[in-house]
Symmetry: C2
Subunit: 411 residues, 2 copies
């Protein structure tokens, strides 16, 4: 008998019929003899409806009241799911953030979990109930309702699993698991059986939409295995787990891409100490996220400075940068939105040289020009012209053998 | 400077525009220098939507989960109202039942308030905030969300006013106040300036839909004056208050009617000890509310027994009664749904004889046959054929001078 935390997203609880489906999955797990905590999101579309209503009232709703409002979405789905489980003849009880005592900081709309009291859940489990917990919500030390921001229900599930010392955290979603790359642009994409926390973190932050970064950080911290799987079938999905628990030995686990970036170049920046700071301080003060930064070697006392920002923030960034460029006496500012960041990820890179070189060679072989490069211990990212996105993903996927089932490592 | 509790019902907060209107009313009161607590219901239609959703899931939702679900309606409106007040440049903070600590019993869907902690509200008022409290909801001793049943937001408002020792409780609604009778059937109906708690209780329980009985009981217990008024204009409404605070000296304050009653007669009941109990015990066991009961004087050892029940429960009542009638050897059971109960109400009756006699005379003068009579200290009710309802109301309203403005009592 194990203690299992299951999480179902908005699509999985998007209608009365789908909530009934979730209820029977939960009951199935209970029948197998396991203790079960189910975390649910708001019904698909409900959070958006609430946000629209708040925005109809005021352009920028105050965070505290915004959280009071949007947290009702999860409150409705926990009640409906508890009713659905009861209708199948099993005990169920819903618990809201404040009832569990999921204590967060007071950073409304994107609060961080500080502690979780397990007493209420443990007590309900002991009585034989399936415990249905509202995802995405908590309470701060002052008793105010808070919400956890994007991917909040994943975070709730993984944090609960950690606090309860659960044996497994199952994240049910509308995909079958984590793929080597996006199957919609690369038919050879293969579902991974296992992936390391660090790889998943890179995949999540680089645009794979399966799991939110913060929930993976929690899982890594508490060493809780996450099983990402489909709510529509009983197939095994992908286990996100400790690196040393992964048997498959591969160099590269996945290829990701992100088309929502823009590249800004400041041409002929005088190469003096302090110029970089004069450019990037106002950008950071404007809360614009800069991703990659490249500065070429100086020629004749001038250099070109290039960096990427999210496409949605490009016009704000240009305003700030143009002023700074004038200030430091640079020649001009160029902008290119037609770029894509393509990355390869794998913990295997740590112990193998030559992975980056192979990536460059593969892209060059297809005539794809690399505009920018950035690397970390377990990933290499290249910025290329957006029209090459699919081609780059496919040739890299092929070149690193991701379509093939890897041989298990010798025991 | 006074402490005022205002309550706005579902219609008054039925749209973004209407919530803005409520916000400006609240700000107006704040500008006048008063401390203000605003209690709101769910937006009109929202509670029904939630109930429909719950019933789609299961025929009879479990009370605890039902309350978790329907209480979200008020949670959305408090957040929206707080945002609207903030948009006008005033401080506002919403508080849910659990945040105020409105402690109720655990009788889900119709819980009763046991205690109210004033600390959170008082603290927010001291900081200069308008405090927006979710009506209709509370929390039981175990931390479960509860709701107060029909008219629950009125009860929340009056109970808060009592606990906070407020100077006034204003109930904003879609009518101008409490009328001498229903203006839709009697054009001479006049808005009352003041009405005593006991009169309002009789009016409320006899079918006037302005205030719920339980909230009036609270107001009476804590001697909180209630101002019932329209949210659509600034006219003075009706003050519900202590009897001795009412200056107008009238015999009768209002005429009410109720067409949702049915009359059941058991013919030729053997006049033996214990027969009444054999009839009414099974009825009460079936949770059917009996209102009036009349037993005529016995002739030849037989009597006719007549009583009224709500029209919605008449078929269930007939089933139970027919069995009991066979059991005691009565001749037959008759039923009449075409009846109406017409009542006159007034604390002035206490000290004046002849009010009932005048009522009978007025009805007789119009050829209206009285089928049943029941009286209390401050009301007389007559059951008549339903076709006479409007006529009876109008002639009684006229005969007791309710259309005229009463002369103030000598000081």
């Amino acid at each position: 008998m194990a203690l299992i935390v299951q999480k179902f997203g908005g699509t999985s609880v998007g209608s009365i019929e789908r909530i009934r489906n979730v209820a029977s999955k939960a009951v199935q797990t209970r029948k197998a003899g396991h203790d079960l905590v189910v975390v649910v999101s708001a019904m698909a579309g409900e959070t958006d409806r609430l946000i629209r209503l708040a925005r109809e009232m005021v352009d920028k709703p105050e965070g505290r009241e915004y959280d009071v409002m949007v947290s009702t979405g999860e409150q409705v789905s926990v009640a409906l799911l508890a009713m659905a489980i009861q209708a199948l003849g099993y005990h169920a009880v819903s618990l809201l953030g404040f009832q569990v005592r999921i204590i967060t900081d007071s950073d409304f709309t994107k609060a961080r979990i500080e502690s979780i009291d397990t007493a209420a859940i443990t007590c309900a489990l002991k009585k034989g109930s399936i415990v249905v917990v509202a995802g995405f919500q908590g309470m701060d030390a002052g008793g105010n309702v808070t919400t956890l921001g994007r991917g909040g229900s994943d975070t709730t599930a993984v944090a609960l699993a950690g606090a309860l010392k659960a044996d497994l955290c199952e994240i049910f979603t509308d995909v079958d698991g984590v793929y080597t790359t996006d199957p919609s642009i690369c038919p050879q994409a293969r579902k991974l059986d296992r992936i390391a926390y660090d790889e998943m973190l890179e995949m999540a932050s680089l645009g794979a939409k399966v799991l939110h970064t913060r929930s993976v950080e929690f899982a890594k911290k508490y060493a809780i295995p996450i099983h990402v799987r489909s709510s529509l079938n009983d197939n095994a999905g992908t286990i996100v787990t400790r690196e040393d628990a992964i048997m498959e030995k591969v160099l590269v686990s996945g290829v990701t891409y992100d088309r929502n970036q823009a590249k800004i170049t400041i041409v002929k920046v005088p190469d003096r100490p302090g110029t970089a700071s004069k450019i990037f301080t106002p950008i950071s003060q404007a809360s614009i996220n800069v991703d990659m930064i490249i500065q070429n070697v100086s020629e004749d006392g001038f250099t070109d400075l290039t960096f990427t920002v999210p496409e949605t923030e490009v016009s704000r960034a240009l305003e700030v940068v143009s002023l700074a460029a004038q200030d430091i006496g640079a020649a001009t500012v160029l902008c290119n939105k037609d770029i894509a960041k393509v990355s390869i990820i794998g913990v295997g890179m740590r112990s193998h040289a030559g992975v980056a070189a192979k990536m460059f060679e593969v892209l060059a072989g297809e005539g794809i020009n690399i505009m920018m490069i950035s690397t970390s211990e377990i990933k290499v990212s290249c910025v290329v012209d957006t029209k090459y996105t699919e081609l780059a993903v496919r040739v890299l996927h092929d070149a690193f053998g991701l379509g093939e089932q890897p041989a298990p490592a010798a025991g």
